[in-house]
């Protein structure tokens, strides 16, 4: 049953790992070269898989050892996998080019630990992600997920300082808690259905209490690894403490792995199991993530922490597609516009967030710090980086014809079609909040700085160019999507009067939010400040209140209890639907 071109799938997984091992063997100075060679090969394989899939139109399958499930393991690549593999390959290529500037072994030494390890870990993350995308059964997904975590954790503590080691250990322990819950759920599912193969599970899963418990546990375990609110305690220090090239990998790619597995679980393995209430709960957590992540991001002083908290908000955005994919007539999650929108959002976020972290890293290099309030003159000192950050942020706002814009339109259409009007408000609010932190950065960075002050360190142009290229990919995604499965009509209306008006509204509301919530704003004309003052007091109080709740939720004990409470809530939500539904 191995289809034509199926052999490409194991190669897509193996090549990065072979590259990592070759880099380890050949040693420090050769590691970047081996990595670039592997990136080129892997990109070619991803393109070949995409070509095979578009030519055949069917899922590419590869049976390991020739044994068919349920005894053997199948690797499967459908349209979703192909899109994610291509996106990850492109983002890895961009980050690889950028990292040549940060992680080249100094000429005086033969081998330095952090530079060499970065390349090996980059390739390991890539291989693990490819395994996540092509796995056809839940246990291979567990192995892939663990590989991804083991490759991601050392990236956090690459600089070896105490604080980042602490962040890495916290990440690892929480991720292990999540993965053990996932494994427990998988064990229960095996006990119920006798198989872990996703295609077979789709036929065999029945709405029984064991299945509800299993899917609830697996979902919560995966949410812990994706850092969805309120299980996000590890993300801000981990992503903000890592070196910029590593933060880009962690934020853009590693969290997408566990997110992809939630999609596989909810859409493919057990589509009729979660039901309406559980899907709403998942979407509700996403909405809370957007709110908390964005507001706390606005209250940050440091650029990297702002971007890390904005990752939290964007992760919440990704989960909005689950309630919108729910089809009331069949009581199951269906693949359609909502899934396409969610995937597009995930890919846009990957490219844009990588660009933003890379830009922040270059700004840190240029200034020696990344305090937002002191970034005056950034447009002159690091123009490509500022442009990359702004383009990435604009792409995420969902205003211009960009990937996120198309995603938002797809999700809005889905909320119209399913009659769930409340998600429209959440999507719009998400747009406003995303705009607010981009505006905050722009306002500070575009002030004229002190021209006599020399840059802290030279900023290589090719790094800025790599960041800008990835940010432009976010915009180009819209074109790529309409070439593919998305209807052209969605994009054609982008420049109509209604859309332009809504763009203006978004920018205005976002600016208001930025000016009322940010910690330090540039000085105003006095009259305007008098008007803003009282509203600023109210908003800052709200903002600080949300930040306080966030810090409470990020205590380990509370986060651990949230893990178990959420599992109970999901189980109860699924039971509530299962008891009333078809059965």
């Amino acid at each position: 049953m191995t289809t034509a071109g199926g052999l490409l799938l194991p190669f897509a997984v193996l090549i990065p790992f072979v590259g990592a091992m070759a880099g380890l063997v050949l040693g420090g100075r050769n590691a970047p070269r081996v990595a670039m060679l592997t990136i080129a090969t892997g990109l070619a394989i991803a393109i070949a898989i995409a070509a095979t899939w578009s030519r055949s139109g069917a899922t590419i399958t590869y049976l390991l050892g020739g044994w068919a499930p349920p005894l053997g393991i199948a690797l499967r690549s459908d349209g979703l996998s192909v899109a994610m593999m291509l996106a990850v390959a492109v983002v890895i290529a961009g980050i690889g080019v950028y990292a040549r500037g940060d992680f080249d072994t100094p000429s005086a030494v033969r081998e330095a630990r952090a530079p060499m390890l970065y390349w090996l870990l980059l390739l390991a993350v890539w291989g693990s992600l490819n395994l996540v995308f092509v796995s056809g059964d839940l246990f291979t997904l567990y192995v892939a997920l663990e590989l991804l975590t083991f490759a991601g954790v050392p990236l956090v503590c690459l600089d070896g300082k105490g604080e980042t080691l602490r962040a890495a250990l916290r990440y690892l322990l929480y991720a292990l808690a999540g993965s053990v819950l996932y494994l427990l759920g998988a064990v229960f599912l095996y006990g119920e259905s006798g198989t872990l193969d996703i295609a077979l599970l789709a036929e065999r899963v029945r709405p029984t209490p064991v299945a509800w418990v299993a899917v609830a546990l697996m979902t919560v375990g995966l949410l812990a690894k994706t850092a969805l609110f309120p299980l996000h305690l590890w993300l801000p220090p981990a992503h903000a403490g890592a070196p910029p090239a590593a933060s880009a990998v962690l934020s853009a790619l590693v969290v997408k792995g566990s997110f992809f597995i939630v999609i596989r679980l909810w859409f493919d393995a057990a589509p009729a199991l979660p039901g309406f209430t559980a899907a709403q709960l998942l979407g509700g957590l996403g909405a809370a993530a957007i709110l908390f992540g964005s507001v706390v991001a606005l209250r940050q002083e440091r650029l990297k922490l702002l971007i890390a908290y904005s990752t939290l908000a964007q992760i919440g955005y990704l989960f909005l597609m689950f309630p919108l994919a729910f089809d009331a007539s069949s009581g199951a999650l269906v693949r359609g516009g909502a899934l396409m929108g969610g995937t597009l959002q995930a890919i846009s976020h990957a490219t844009a967030k990588a660009a933003m972290f890379m830009a922040a890293g270059l700004i840190y290099k240029a200034y020696g710090h990344d305090r937002i309030a002191d970034l005056a003159g950034a447009a002159r000192r690091a123009p490509l980086s500022v442009l990359a950050f702004v383009v990435g942020g604009v792409a995420l706002m969902g205003v211009l014809p960009s990937g996120a814009y198309l995603a938002k339109k797809l999700l809005l259409d889905a909320s119209d079609a399913t009659g769930q009007w409340w998600w429209e408000w959440v999507l719009q609010a998400g747009g406003f909040l995303t705009t607010s932190y981009v505006v905050l950065f722009v306002v500070h960075a575009l002030r004229t700085g002190d021209p006599s002050q020399a840059p802290h360190a030279a900023v290589p142009r090719f790094q800025g160019a790599a960041a800008l290229a990835l940010a432009l990919c976010s915009l180009a995604l819209a074109l790529a999507a309409v070439v593919g499965p998305v209807p052209w009509a969605l994009l054609a209306s982008a420049l109509s009067a209604k859309e332009v008006a809504s763009t203006l509204v978004t920018v205005v509301v976002g600016s208001v939010l930025a000016f009322t919530l940010a910690r330090r704003i540039p000085s105003f004309p006095v009259g305007l400040f008098a008007a803003v003052g009282p509203s600023r007091f109210v908003m800052v109080t709200i903002g600080d209140g949300l930040a306080r709740i966030d810090s409470v939720l990020r205590q380990w004990t509370i986060a651990g209890l949230s893990l178990l409470t959420l599992a109970l809530l999901f189980g109860a939500a699924m039971r509530a639907n299962g008891a009333t539904c078809c059965g």
Partner: protein
């Protein structure tokens, strides 16, 4: 109570104790040990399922046994990585606490970097 059911109950108890330890203990080494206890419980549960799902004449379903050997290896690697990071943390900072956040994250942020 059959043997398999007894093992199953023991597995559930292990998972419960391990989760309690993972959530409540502040020291990372104890969390790592608790994770191992939960892992042992999950693997034992998988073994029970293998026993109960065995076809006629076989001692146990072979697929879960293969899967749980893989799981043991994964858990072992996880423990090794966690202990390594913990040892480095101790070398760098002289303490093994995970608590580092200031109560209000909006102040100077989570990291001094």
């Amino acid at each position: 109570m059959s043997g398999a059911a007894l093992f199953g109950l023991v597995a559930c108890a292990l998972i419960g104790v391990g989760l309690y330890g993972l959530i409540v203990n502040p020291q990372p080494l104890r969390k790592i040990l608790a994770f191992n206890v939960v892992g042992s419980g999950v693997f034992l549960l998988f073994g029970v399922i293998a026993r109960r799902g065995a076809a006629l004449g076989m001692g146990g379903d072979p697929v879960p046994q293969a899967l749980l050997i893989t799981g043991i290896v994964v858990a072992f690697s996880a423990t090794a990585l966690a202990v390594t990071v913990l040892l480095r943390l101790y070398d760098e900072t002289g303490s093994t606490t995970l608590a580092s956040e200031t109560p209000v994250p909006a102040d100077t942020g989570a990291n001094p970097q």
